[in-house]
Amino acid sequence: MQEAISFTPQLAASFIAEILWLIPALPVAAAAVTALLGRSRRRTSATLAIGALSFSLLLSLVAFAHVVSGWAHEAAVRETVNFTWMQVGTPSGAGHVELGWVLDPLSAVMLVMVSFVSLVIFIYSIGYMAHDGNYTRFFCFLSLFAGAMLGVVAANSLLLLFICWELVGLTSYLLIGFWYERPAAAAAAKKAFLTTRVGDVFFLLGMVWLFAQTGTLLFYNHGAGAIEPTALAGLLAAPAALGLTAAGAIGLLIFAGAAGKSGQFPLHVWLPDAMEGPTPVSALIHAATMVAAGVFLIARVYPLMAAGAPLLATRVLTQAGTLAGGTTTALTVITWVGAFTAVFAALIAVAQNDIKRILAYSTISQLGYMMAGLGMGGVAVGLFHLMTHAFFKALLFMGAGSVIHGCHGEQDVRRMGGLRSVMPLTFLTYAMGMLALCGFPLLFSGFWSKDGILEAAEHWSVAKTPFYMLVFGALLTAFYMTRQVSYVFFGHWRGHKPAQESPAVMTLPLGILAFFAMALGLIGTPAWPWFRAFLENRAAGFTWRGFMEPGLLTLMATSTAVVFLGLGLGWRLYGGLAPRPEEPDILEKAAPWAWAGLRGRLYVDEFYGVTVVAFYRWWARVADWLDRRLWGGAVAGVAWLFGQWAGLSRFLDTNVVDGSFDKGCEELSVGGGLLARVQTGRVQTYLRILALAVAALAAILIWSSRS
């Protein structure tokens, strides 16, 4: 393996890095403008959203090209633009909270992937949402989501990443509950929000801890960032509880956040319910991008996760994501959780009948693969599966959307069938996505990315079990996808109204994604590991000898055999003879109790219902009782006291103050009445009085002068 090019310290960021903030800002601005538009401005809102995202895609491509050209000239690009957001106090005096963005191979490929997949799904939404009354609101939320997701990807600060992360969670909530008049959708939105919040609390704790330890939340800052060697050495030296270093503990806390977002067991329960949202939302947020944010987060802080791994120690931390020879507690946990989730969700997917729910469990399972890949093989292995999965899972979801659209809203696969001839374009693209997901050999991207994970699992130093688990998961994946495709596209039509093909605005994006579901594999084959070399900053060379590495061909053969076994088994059981909707499933006849368990999603929801939810119900009742009796009683007592006091004041007012005043007024009024009688209005009366008065005055004067 060639030695990596080390990242050259970049003093002045290039122009494209300086304006990298525009990539997330444009869709957010489009969302803001759309929010101010009226409901009837449908065309304007769609144009704004797609236009802004197109510019983002263009900028992303320029940024990507910049990174690639730097890499090709053996000058690895990691350019950061940081600025101080605010000052806060830390134990060691005043600290700065800094935000910023980073342009490196990881963010470049993610920016391109997110903006491209989003753009395709935006275009698809024009067709899918054509009959919805809240079209403008939909595009507003969708734009906001795309901006927030691009922000997560571009962020160079854990805090900025967290802000965008929460924005992504918010838009996910808004979009799952988009049809909020349906009680199920509103409940699913709440469930998604609360479940991911559980993970986010840990994430926040980890972030605060990291800030307390290192005094910075920037990832890269010319050697002073939180995941650069200096800070990591400090984190490794600081002990935490249970034999963990601070690095390991913080890594685990951050992983809890990632597990919530990426639907890892035991926080996966929200993702299947999130399928209540419109299908483009399921494709974009709950398959391609947002749920991958957790995987991306782990990849972003990978140096922290891998800090202290034995074999890494020599070329430690010069870069993100070398193939980990050793492992750390955090990475071990990530691996086991990922592998378990992969098998667990694949098992449940076997027994589901809702077309989108099958895909949802498949997504959870594939996210488990990515996590396991990160844990065992490093950034490139996990990220490559993230990339390929984003394309083929978006394709599958949009294909499912097209099927639902064509079947007039029907989502139960038992009430479909024979759509192969009615919806040929959808069938063709869906089949390609399905084969990519199963990992059909050589032609499809899923094969190469899954193989990378399996290869890493085979060489994992800790245990072999994850390898067997993942192979079993691959078998299940091929099986349940064959089952689904047989139900939907083969056999005969079992629905009510005849189905129809979807418009071109929906099938064209399917075609684009189908192309990438195949072609993307080319950049990650063992013969030309371009993607991995790019992320790890090594030179990429084309050589057939890549296949000749010991054990690789055996592994490929194993995985091929497993895939064919799964496909064959599925076709044998379901091909062409899918049962009528009322009939029990073939597997149900064979093993009713196992089927019931899988059908009931292994009762995780019910378990949470009797533990967590029941506890909160009880706690809410206690709080309610305290509120009513204790606090309520105290408040009522104080209120009573003041009521009495007010009564006394009122008595004094009416009887003492008002009484005396009224009496005085009455006297004045009577006096005025008496005096008013003098005022007769007759001039001559006044004159008479005047004359009498003058006469009286004269008499007094005469009288007084006499004496």
């Binding site: 005096l675 008013a676 009688r677 003098v678 005022q679 007769t680 209005g681 007759r682 001039v683 001559q684 004159l687 008479r688 004359a691």
Partner: protein
């Protein structure tokens, strides 16, 4: 009886006639005539006190009376104007009928 006393008696008689007219008449114009009589009684007094006073050569009383007559003319013009306005407004000059200012 000195001439002065005679004049004063005439003036007093004139004033009393005027006052009686002003107090008893119900027609506003007649009341005004009464007031004029009273004024002229006062003028007569002024002339009489000047003529039989300590400095009859200084013309002060006469000037005073002329001023008084001029003011009385103005006052009569204003008074008659008011009476005309009242008549226009109330269609009467009967003072007993014009009592809207009572308390």
């Amino acid at each position: 009886m000195t001439p002065l006393t005679g004049y004063l008696l005439v003036a007093a008689l004139l004033f009393s006639i005027g006052l009686a007219g002003a107090l008893t008449r119900r027609n506003a114009i007649l009341v005004l005539i009464g007031i004029e009589l009273m004024l002229n009684a006062a003028n007569l007094n002024l002339i009489a006190f000047w003529r039989y006073g300590p400095h009859p050569e200084l013309l002060t009383g006469m000037i005073f009376a002329i001023f008084s007559i001029a003011v009385a003319a103005a006052e009569a013009a204003v008074g008659l104007g008011l009476v005309i306005q009242i008549h226009r407004h109330a269609r009467t000059t009967d003072l007993d009928a014009i009592n809207r200012m009572k308390g």
